[in-house]
């Protein structure tokens, strides 16, 4: 049985004037049906680049190595015709910033109908219209609003439209790239509810990208934390959020104080320093310069991702603090 999505040794680097700039370095990840997998990490850690490779949408100057298997077929090497047939029909994307990801001068019904007409050309106009209405109702927008333009909707409603659009061709896999980033906390909670409900109802698999670990802990079964292009911690959402092992995962978890937890509230947790310059990474562990637990051994080699009690962590100091 093939996984819905399997990333196998995925590496992406960008061609720049200063030589190749690695964005993703050797990521292995699996998403199965009915499962929500989160990728967390700060800006520039490579998580959006990773998301873009699932449908081979990475920028032209990106060099990709490894395998991206969607339902067992490698997206990176298949022909353009096969790729176009796979896009949206088998895997779709909820982009961040729905205002810019929707065409501003087309009605939302036209935009939702577009992939349906493309992938199921046999459907009549009436059938397509009916499907668009159902999809909108499914995300909590009255079907009567289908003739509005994106600018006539609020940010939350636009994101709902993006989600309806992602469901249009009934894909097995949905990639959500920062689906709630531009939204206020209340609307964010509603969108996350909607996403969890849909995954449960439709049994699809979902890969959700966010810088906000608390968002991921709400909806994900498993979470992978990325740092400088690598997965440094991977486990169940509960493990990663409540009891992170890797020092970076810890810092990330503490950056979002939990409501009702006085300890988190009175311990202002930030992380000093900046991510490493990808052109000149530190010799050993990429997190070592910012790590409070670093020892000499950390500067010698990049630690591999190791199984530690039902999860994986890329730190030789796990358990030391």
């Amino acid at each position: 049985m093939d996984h819905l999505l399997e990333l196998d040794g995925l590496s992406v680097s960008y061609r720049t004037a200063d030589g190749p700039l690695p964005a993703v370095r050797g990521v292995d990840l699996v998403v199965d049906a009915g499962e929500v997998v989160g990728i967390a990490g700060e800006s520039g850690c490579g998580k959006s680049t990773l998301a873009s490779t699932v449908l081979r949408l990475q920028p032209k100057d990106a060099v990709v190595e490894g395998e991206v298997l969607v339902a067992g077929r490698d997206v990176l090497t298949m022909g353009w015709g096969d790729l176009r047939a796979l896009r949206w029909a088998e895997a779709s994307i909820v982009f961040q910033g729905a205002l810019h990801s929707l065409n501003p001068v087309r009605r939302i019904e036209t935009q939702i109908a577009e992939p349906i007409q493309l992938h199921e050309p046999g459907l009549s106009t009436a059938e397509v219209t009916a499907r668009v209405g159902e999809l909108l109702e499914q995300v909590g927008i009255p079907a009567a609003r289908s003739r509005v333009y994106p600018h006539q909707l609020s940010g939350g409603q636009r994101q709902r439209v993006m989600i309806a659009m992602a469901l249009a061709c009934r894909p097995q896999l949905i990639v959500a790239d920062e689906p709630t980033t531009a939204l206020d906390v209340m609307v964010q909670a509603q969108i996350l509810d909607l996403i969890s409900g849909l995954v449960k109802d439709l049994g699809v698999g979902m890969l959700i990208i966010s810088h906000d670990l608390s968002v991921l802990s709400d909806v994900c079964d498993r979470v992978a934390v990325m740092y400088a292009g690598r997965v440094v911690e991977c486990g169940s959402a509960e493990q990663v959020f409540r009891a992170p092992a890797h020092p970076y995962a810890k810092a990330l978890a503490q950056a979002f104080p939990r409501v009702g937890d006085p300890a988190a509230r009175y311990a202002p947790a930030g992380l000093a320093g900046d991510p490493p310059d990808p052109h000149a990474p530190p010799p050993g562990c990429t997190f070592e310069p910012r790590c409070t637990l670093a020892v000499d051994a950390c500067r010698e080699a990049e630690p591999p991702l190791l199984d530690i009690g039902g999860r994986q962590s890329a730190c030789i100091r796990v358990g030391a603090a």
Binding site: L55, L86, R87, S92, G97, N103, R106, E114, G140, H151
Partner: protein, 349 residues
């Protein structure tokens, strides 16, 4: 799913009401633009009237062309043209006559200005209309291909040529073309006629006469097309480049559309918006004529009419052509706004 619907309900509640619907908001948009256009038209009428009253020179005296006339004759002239009336009275008369289509009488040709304008309109419409159309189509195409192949050989060539044409005065380009293609260059004979709209022996109403007119218009049309197309090409290029960076094109590609379809369905229509406005606005300048080009090619159009009227000065003709030109620009502006309102829903709200 009921909880989801309820959640959506609470989210929708605090939003500004947008229930007015697209139709009503478009009606309001339309009414606003038409009112604005009427206001501009009135303003143009006022300026047009008073501009010619504050100009130095006495219309009655210029009528006599420097000949010795008696005071009685001058008074008769003044009475005939209503110049003895108070200014306010003259203005009201002007408004009334203009509303009835009476634009006065040309002192040079001694025919009503409205007849003169209708007579001279066709060469201008043919010349400027065809040039604008050609320039739009060719310019948009050049700009489109340049943007797709940004930085490539075609882009650099096309942008270089169009920038050169853009910076060239159109009359100078016209003179170069006359020198090269009409007069002949060195041993090369001239191909095109040097000016005018008809050959001396041609009957303008016959088919061969019309073909002859078209032949006479070819070089001026080429000149104007070259002069205009740069603007379209450069604007289309930059607006398409803007669109090509937009995220919704990534969405379109993610949906499985071919690159060609992504451009044709999403990028190009959106990039055409600024070009559409430009084209609609330029249509307004069709009737004002290309004064310099009509003059150097001796095309008897509205531009040449204005130019000649200015040298006499033939006040009623000038007033008429000015009014027509400003009115056309106002109407074109209105049309541009309406087209934009139809094409881009964002401007309606």
């Amino acid at each position: 799913m009921t909880t989801l619907a309820a959640a959506a309900g609470t989210e929708a509640a605090p939003e500004p009401a947008e229930a007015s619907g697209p139709r009503r908001s478009f009606g309001r948009y339309l009414a606003g633009k038409v009112l604005g256009a009427l206001g501009s038209l009135l303003f143009v009428l006022v300026v047009n009237f008073f501009l010619f009253r504050v100009l130095p020179g006495d219309p009655a005296r210029s009528l006599t062309r420097g000949r010795v006339v008696s005071k009685e004759q001058m008074d008769a002239f003044r009475e005939q043209y209503g110049l003895d009336q108070p200014l306010a009275q003259q203005f009201l008369t002007y408004l009334k006559n203009t509303a009835q289509g009476d634009l006065g009488v040309s002192i040079r040709y001694n025919v009503p200005v409205s007849e003169l304008i209708v007579d001279r309109m066709w060469p201008t419409i043919a010349l400027v209309g065809v040039s604008t159309l050609l320039a739009t189509v060719i310019g948009v195409y050049l700009g489109m291909v340049s943007a797709w192949r940004r930085g490539g050989g075609f882009d650099r060539f096309s942008t270089g040529i169009t920038l050169t044409l853009y910076s060239m005065p159109e009359w100078w380009l016209g003179l170069l073309l006359i020198a090269g293609l009409s007069v002949g260059f060195g041993p090369l004979p001239g191909i095109f006629p040097t000016g005018g709209l008809n050959s001396i022996d041609a009957d303008p109403s016959s088919l061969s006469g019309m073909l002859d007119s078209a032949w006479h218009l070819t070089l001026p049309v080429i000149t104007l097309t070259l002069a205009y197309l740069a603007e379209y090409s450069l604007i289309m290029r930059s607006s398409l480049l803007d669109e090509l960076g937009e995220n919704y094109l990534t969405t379109a590609r993610a949906k499985g559309l071919r690159d060609v379809e992504v451009r044709r369905r999403h990028a190009v229509p959106n990039a055409l918006l600024p070009t559409t406005t430009l084209a609609a606005l330029n249509i307004g300048f069709v009737v004002s004529g290309a004064i310099t080009i009509e003059t150097i090619f001796s095309i008897p159009g509205l531009g040449l009419l204005s130019y000649e009227a200015l040298s006499i000065p033939d006040y009623d003709v000038l007033q008429g052509t000015f009014l027509l030109a400003s009115g056309a620009v106002i109407v074109a502006n209105l049309v541009a706004n309406l087209i934009y309102g139809v094409l881009d829903p964002r401007v309606r709200t």
